[in-house]
Symmetry: C2
Subunit: 162 residues, 2 copies
């Protein structure tokens, strides 16, 4: 009887150790969704700091901007961001309204709206509204980083007054 109890106790211990997630904690998906939203909001504070903006991307992350080619590498992303952020009268703001996450809390996405302002050819500010989906992957250090950022505008580019 005592041997049986020992056996059960030992088996349960092995099971608990063997089956525990690597982190040792159950995954709180609401917390992960909030972490993605928070990472996105923090990211939105980075422009026009190119370096801070680019640092949000994971290695291999991609930027898919409208009316411009896809940026594959960190150098490409840096070049694209530099080009955008140095437009006369440039400013951008965005805000997520939704985040989804995978069962293991390792991959997620945020969806939101944006406003992008730059001067037209005559120096008048033109603001365009848009929207985006950003895909995030949690890194080994626990930080969420961007693996894909795709955005567009809600209406075509306004034609110049010229």
């Amino acid at each position: 009887m005592i041997k049986t109890l020992h056996f059960i106790a030992l088996t349960m211990t092995i099971l608990m150790v063997g089956c525990a997630p690597e982190s040792g904690e159950p995954i709180d998906l609401d917390a992960e969704r909030l972490a993605i939203l928070e990472a996105d909001r923090a990211w939105s504070e980075t422009p026009p700091d190119v370096e801070a903006f680019v640092s949000a991307f994971a290695d291999g992350g991609r930027l898919l901007p409208p009316e411009a080619p896809e940026a594959h590498s960190r150098e490409d992303i840096q070049e694209t961001a530099s080009g955008m952020f140095s437009l006369p009268g440039f400013s951008v703001s965005w805000s997520p309204n939704f985040a989804g996450v995978s069962q293991a809390g390792d991959l997620g996405y945020s969806i939101g709206t944006l406003e992008f302002t730059a001067d037209d050819g005559e120096g008048n500010p033109v603001t365009r509204k848009g929207k985006y989906t950003t895909v995030w992957r949690k890194q080994e250090d626990g930080q969420w980083k961007v693996v894909s950022d795709t955005f567009n505008f809600d209406s075509p580019a306004p034609t110049s007054g010229e």
Copy 2:
């Protein structure tokens, strides 16, 4: 000695049963990536069939098209797709060049390029190149469905010849 062997065998059996993923199979992430690419390619065959196009979306899925508002609901997506697919001279094609997937094989994304053609105001076909990120979630029946599709064009809308 025999008791010890029995104990080890029983413990290993319990561990194997207790720790197996719910599906009973280890997750093959390469296979899941291929399944996402395949779902995306199959989806690209659906236009101009609005119903087939819309059926690729999961409940709550969103369509974020360029130069148009976001479509939140299945009805909105259907209306947006109907509008696009009925443009004079409309055709669209796309092809994924990358897919990523979560550790548990439940959430993923595809990135690719597209060509979108429609007639301009004078009846001349205008083709625009673009790119997209689509986020996919595996449904309970094992099918990958779209939870977010965001695309844009590589250059601004061509100005009309008028």
